[in-house]
Structures are given as structure tokens and as C-alpha cells.
Point group: C2
């Protein structure tokens, strides 16, 4: 018998003994986990310890013993049993490591989708957080509050639209064109990226104009490429949080580390919130605009990535804002980001 | 002019002054946010402060000023500007509160989907965590490690299957029937809830047997109802973590508070992991079994809830295990649960 087998036999004996003791103390109607003859059970446990599938079986059998041990009323006795239980779990974990250490971690993804609590951002990297969100989920509010708490620069769709406008206008500053707009002295630009007031139709003439201005690229592509460039430029110089604009796609493509969070809430709950925010609109209109907005996001995301926009697997973390509310979601994410590491 | 208007005017003046000062210091090519005549701009800012939509416009304009202020190189000056910036943001938030305090929080949901960091569990409530997971995402491993860290009882599909078997068998204990199975001395029960070894076909005879045993209920319903009862019983007496079994549905229906977490990872990443775990199977088989398993979950979840299983809106939080790995996901969730509150 080799050294390794001896160790496994010793571990099996501890497991068998724990089961026996817990049963002695409780006299539970659940019976014992191991109730055959001792030698047979020890061989069986060693077998479990030796194989991959077995390690899962053993884990559950240990969990059953542990669950029972936790019901021991005498607290000193309970502590003693639990200490032995946890020690055994640690040992079986170590034993199982060489074949159960099959990771789900995607190294490449992990490098890109940096989570500060793992200190994955290097010193040279800017701290970047991308927030995707469904309309009405409060994602923009959560993003703004997070940027405020983490002292990160903040960008959202509306701000990007203004900056794009400035770039198009050349020597006119963003703020000038915005102020002109607010005063009714300029052609109305798209209102602040809000789907509720965005014009949904474009005239044929405008489409032709766009086409020639964008050097033959479809407008969607041209806009995406300009914004991508802007996001990459910002990523060189600033720590920032960005809401929307599919910034995650751009940063992932460019190999720039970032944390990628998606905020959503049940559709009906989002409708209720939007009704409160837009009392001037009928519920029917709101539902129609929201569905259109969700569909547009899904369509564009698929166009640029081939993936489904709302799939949790695209993000590091997905938060249901209906479970925590706006302030609660901010707290939750801060907790998770472990504020002191990012700031 | 009323008191309130005066206050808003004073706030507008601070905002205008901050923009002016930041621009003076930086001489930025970005221009100023407010660059019209002073009175006109102040009236404009007051207008923004007074309306709901305006408060969003103002928030972005402030963010632009803040982003610029952060680039001031003189650190004393930067600190001074940022202090004023944060103070203004707080004041505008307060001002906007009465119309922008439109919450996404679902009170009912929040009460049920308790998150310890908000201390939503009452003293009488047991601490319960439900983990849903896609196959191969490592969700079961993450769940077990979490239970271990949080000192919660642990249950999963395999353990439930054993307990159900015991209930069906009457006076035979789970462990006896399991040991008999492991020794090849009993009819093989379904192997530990693992879809890779679960028999996928049921004979007509077995279906008839099931039908009469379940008092005419389809087997899926009968199983669901027995398990629901068991979950509710456990919820009366234990703090526990349960992986799978749609425990979230049951607990929500019964109004029992719990934290509901979903673990997933990109399909291809899960395939890779399953290939490592099941070297005896071909990739084609693995893909087929995984797709079948995903489909079955989707179908059953829709049957019992009318909702899509993988939708993030069903859960409090969804974690992409490929972003953090198994140990990293455990750390992340622990961080978020703020361990000391739950234990």
C-alpha cells in the first residue's frame, strides 16, 4: 500500500468517524450516511476520494453529515463536530484538486473584464466601468451615482451625442450648439438620446446626406466607428464610467480592461416607472416605445457582436434593479467593487 | 420672487461660476458649458432645475464640468473645484428629489428577495440563498463553496433526489438505498441529478407506474410539489443554500425571503469545461446533452412560472463565472453579501 493510499484511508476513517459521532449525538431518524460494515464503507469512501465523479458524490455525502451536525444543540459539541467537518472538507478539496480543478475562468475574458476586487487592473490601466441597461431600469441613474461615488468621469449617450455633434460642426463647440438648441435658435438635434423624444423617422434626403457624409458607410456603422474611436481615446487618458454606447464591445475588441455591468428589471416594472416619469404619454405609447427600444438594442448588438444583448453571459455581472432599487443597486455594486481598490 | 426661486437662482449662480472658474484654470479647447450671456444662462439653469427632464440635462452638463475639473493639474485647485462640484451635485440631487425620486424598486420583490447587505432579513427569517445555474458554469461548485464560507446548510439536486427516494421508499433510509446502489445491489436510481448520466428515456410501463403513484398528476408536477413541500419545510427550520430545484419559484410563491442568484457562462466556455470533466464523451455528445439540458430548464421554468429561465430579471443578481472563475465568483458574491450580516 502506497503512501497516498494510506493518507486516503486515514481521511476516509475521519469521515466515517464523523458520521458515526454525529449519529451517536443526534440519534437522528435520518439514519447514518455510512451504515454498512466499516471496512466496506472505508473502501467505498477511498474509491470516492480517488475519482472525479466520486469527489462530487462525497461532497454531497459530507454536506449531509454537516447539515445534521449543525442541528446539534450542545454548542460545544456542535463546534467540535463542525470543526472536524470543515477540516475534512478542506482536505477532500485538496485531495480532489488535481482532477476537479477544472476552471470555468476565461483567462482572456478575465484580463479584459477586470474586477478591482481581484486587482486585475494594472497600474498603467485606466479604471473603466461600462454600464449597459434596459430602458426604464434606472441604469443611467445608477451609473451616474456610481461615477459620483467612485470619483470617475461620467459619460452617457446624451453626452456622446453632444460631443459627436461638436466634432461634426467643426469649430462650433458642443455647448454652443446645445445652448442654441435649448433657446430654439438652432435646428433641434436629437434630444439627449432619450428614446421617448428621439425622432423615429428619417427622410430619404437625410439618409442620402448621411450616406455621402459617412463615405459610403451605413450611418449605423459610421456612428459606431466614430464613437469607438472616441471611447478608445478617452480610455487612454481618463478613469471613467460610461452608460450605454456598447462601450463594452469597443473596449473588448481593443483589448482594454474594463468592468462590464448590465442593469435590468422586469418589463412590467419598467413600464410602471416610465409611466411615472412620462405622465404626458399613454401607457400604450410607452409600451410601444419601450419594446421598440429593446428591439433596437437587440438588433444593433447582434449586428456588431453576433450575440444577444440581454444575455447575462456578455457581462461580468447583471443586476436586477427591481430587487434593490436605485440606491440599493449602487450600494450593491460598490460593495462588490470594493471601493478602496478602484479609487 | 419666492424663497424657492431665490435658492434655485443661488444654486444656478454657483453652477455658472464653477463652469467659469474651471474654464479659466484650464483654458480648455472644449470651450465652456455655459457661454451665452450670464443672465440668459442663469435663467436657463433655473429652468433645468425646475423640471424633471431638465434635471437630467443639468446632470450631464454638470458631469461635463466635473470631467474637465478632474483634469486640473494643480492638486489644491483641483480639490477645491471638485469639492464645489460634488457639493453642487448633492444640492441638485436634493432639488430634483421630489420629481426624480421615481423608483424601480419592487417593494414586494425586495421583501422576498432579501439581500443581507440591506438587512432585509428579519430576525425570524431563516437565511436562504438560491443558486440557479446553467450546466457547466461551475454554479454547483460555487454554491458549495459559498455554503461552506457562510456556514449554511447545503442542498443540491443530487441530495434532493436521494431524500425523495428515501421518502418514496418509506422505511429504507436514503443512505441505505444509496449504498446498495453504489455496491450494485439495488436497482440503479437516477445518477445524482447529473444530466450526463441520467437516463433520457422512460418506458411506457414506468410512465403508468408514475401516473398511478402520483395520484394522476403528471410526474413533473408531482415531483415539483413534493420538492416544494420539502423546501418549505426546510425553510422553517434551517439557514441554507440550495443549488437548482427551482427553489426560487417555490420560495417566492410561498412568500419566504431569500437571495436569488443565477450563475452562467458563455456556452462555448461551458463546453470546454465539460470536455475536461468528461473526457470519456465526444464533443458532439457533450454539446447535444448540454443543449438538451438548457432546453429542459427553459421548458420547465416556463411551465411553472411563464417566464424565461435564463432572463436576468428573474434573479437578484447574475454572475458570469467565466469572468471571475470559480473561486473569484465565490469571493465576488461573498463581498456582495457582506458576510458578517448573513452569518
Amino acid at each position: 500500500m502506497e503512501k497516498k493510499d494510506l493518507d486516503l484511508r486515514a481521511l476516509a476513517e475521519r469521515i466515517y468517524a464523523l458520521d458515526e459521532k454525529v449519529y451517536e449525538i443526534l440519534g437522528s431518524s435520518l439514519g447514518r450516511v455510512y451504515n454498512g460494515d466499516r471496512d466496506y464503507d472505508l473502501n467505498y469512501i477511498v474509491e470516492l476520494l480517488e475519482s472525479q465523479k466520486g469527489s462530487y458524490v462525497l461532497r454531497d455525502e459530507l454536506a449531509l453529515i454537516g447539515n445534521m451536525a449543525k442541528t446539534i444543540e450542545n454548542s460545544a459539541l456542535q463546534a467540535q463536530m463542525m470543526e472536524e467537518y470543515h477540516s475534512i472538507v478542506q482536505m477532500t478539496k485538496k485531495q480532489a484538486e488535481h482532477y476537479t480543478r477544472i476552471e470555468i475562468l476565461d483567462e482572456k475574458r478575465a484580463q479584459l473584464n477586470a474586477m478591482p476586487l481581484k486587482k486585475r487592473f494594472s497600474d498603467q490601466d485606466k479604471k473603466i466601468i461600462c454600464i449597459g441597461r434596459t430602458y426604464g431600469s434606472g441604469g443611467t441613474e445608477i451609473g451616474f451615482a456610481l461615477a459620483e461615488e467612485l470619483k470617475l468621469n461620467y459619460y452617457d449617450s446624451a453626452m456622446f451625442a453632444e460631443i459627436m455633434k461638436r466634432m461634426e460642426a467643426g469649430n462650433t463647440t458642443v455647448w454652443q450648439s446645445r445652448n442654441l438648441y435649448q433657446r430654439g435658435e438652432a435646428n433641434a438635434p436629437v434630444y439627449r438620446g432619450d428614446p421617448f423624444t428621439e425622432p423615429s423617422k428619417t427622410s430619404l434626403r437625410e439618409l442620402f446626406d448621411d450616406f455621402s457624409r459617412n463615405h459610403g458607410l451605413p450611418k449605423r456603422d459610421a456612428l459606431f466607428f466614430s464613437q469607438s474611436k472616441m471611447i478608445c481615446d478617452i480610455a487612454q487618458t481618463e478613469n471613467f464610467l460610461i452608460v450605454g454606447r456598447y462601450a463594452d464591445i469597443v473596449l473588448t475588441n481593443e483589448g482594454i480592461p474594463h468592468v462590464n455591468i448590465f442593469i435590468t428589471a422586469p418589463f412590467e416594472k419598467r413600464v410602471t416607472r416610465m409611466k411615472e416619469m412620462h405622465p404626458e404619454m399613454s401607457e400604450k405609447e410607452i409600451r410601444s416605445v419601450m419594446k421598440r427600444s429593446d428591439r433596437r438594442h437587440v438588433r444593433d448588438y447582434r449586428y456588431f457582436t453576433g450575440k444577444h444583448w440581454e444575455s447575462a453571459e456578455n457581462y461580468d455581472l447583471t443586476v436586477n434593479s427591481a430587487s434593490y432599487g436605485i440606491a440599493g443597486s449602487v450600494d450593491l455594486i460598490l460593495e462588490m467593487l470594493d471601493g478602496d481598490v478602484i479609487s
